[in-house]
Symmetry: C2
Subunit: 219 residues, 2 copies
């Protein structure tokens, strides 16, 4: 049974993992016969009230504990996960990928990645294991691979401003519709826009299901 | 386009809506061409740390605000939803259905339902619109319909103790495997065990997808 690391970043589109993207990923992995190894960084993060869309001032929550909601408690601190425990790695999106796994949401192309996230991404690339990034998560991968001066291809959909930031970090950006995904065969990278473009959960699911299928084929 | 009310109870299996069940429901509705009308009660509720599984002592969160995480912000206070706005009603499970929508988790067959939830369930039954309940949510429906002395059939799977509590409240309980669902055609009720029995997200999805399909056929 293939083991696929699923890196979560909290629980909710505005301050954590986009919940639909994360659950669709877990379902697609299960249906493909893979075991999901959920993980998240053990860190405090700012909270957004998802009803008002505004910051919950002064409130923080722990990313690992909140991510455990999506994983039904079965989750590990990413710092404890070694590359030999997984066959592939996948990142659902949500602002948590751009606020907690890195600070792309506030720093753009000057962002930095969480060190343990960066470590596992680098180990995945070095081991030639496939890696998929959904929605805004390719910005995180761009930062890490760009820092390593590794030529690579990713998509965040069609938003020119966001794509430009990835290009600045070192990515060759490929425009992609929500129903599809982009493959970088050299680096075994797969990316899909999902809620960067999706107008419905069904649209997001189409690209994510294709991405997981492509990831499983690469293992 | 059919409008289906989706009643959420927080965000996380131990103190709110079971996230997988809620997202699978939203995806199945979207793929069936229905519009989901997400709603939740505006109330404070106790919090469970989903990493440790233990109560977060002294901490409360607002059920409507936390449910908004699953609904990506598009959610309404159930008190403001009228029966003529929806064509059907569906309840994902999770302990929130048994702690927040009613207090079955602590009171068993002596439980009471949240008044606005009970109001909308009664209006749905009276309007002869279909209603589906997933996982532990049938306990809530049992309480409300049992109080009205309305003969009805539901399943919570195969757990004898839980089934007995439903029988005590007035339900005819039908044992059901995770891959299937139970229909009460007289009252237009559909129920499926999902994570009452599921060993994987794929198993939960199978019954929920069938339940949503049956609900759509009844509209």
């Amino acid at each position: 049974m293939a083991k696929v690391g699923v890196v979560l970043s909290g629980c909710g589109v505005y301050d954590g993992s986009e919940i639909h993207e994360a659950v669709i990923t877990l379902l697609a992995l299960d249906r493909a016969g893979a075991e999901a190894v959920c993980m998240a960084p053990n860190m405090e993060a700012a909270v957004v009230n998802h009803l008002s869309g505004e910051a919950a001032k002064g409130e923080t929550r722990n990313v690992l504990i909140e991510s455990a909601r999506i994983a039904r408690g079965k989750i590990r601190d990413i710092a404890e996960v070694q590359i030999n425990e997984i066959d592939a790695l996948i990142f659902p999106g949500g602002f948590g990928a751009a606020k907690n796994l890195c600070d792309f949401a506030s720093q753009g192309s000057d962002c930095s990645a969480h060190p343990e996230v960066a470590r596992l991404v680098r180990e995945t690339i070095a081991a030639k294991k496939p890696l998929a990034a959904i929605c805004i998560a390719p910005a995180l991968i761009s930062r890490i691979l760009g820092d390593d001066h590794l030529a690579h291809k990713l998509t965040i959909g069609t938003d020119a401003g966001t794509a430009d930031a990835l290009v600045k970090m070192g990515t060759e950006h490929i425009d992609c519709p929500v129903s599809n995904f982009v493959v970088d065969p050299t680096n075994k990278l797969i990316s899909t826009p999902a809620y960067m473009l999706a107008g419905s959960i069904g649209q997001a699911a189409e690209g994510i299901e294709k991405t997981v299928a492509a990831l499983m084929e690469m293992i």
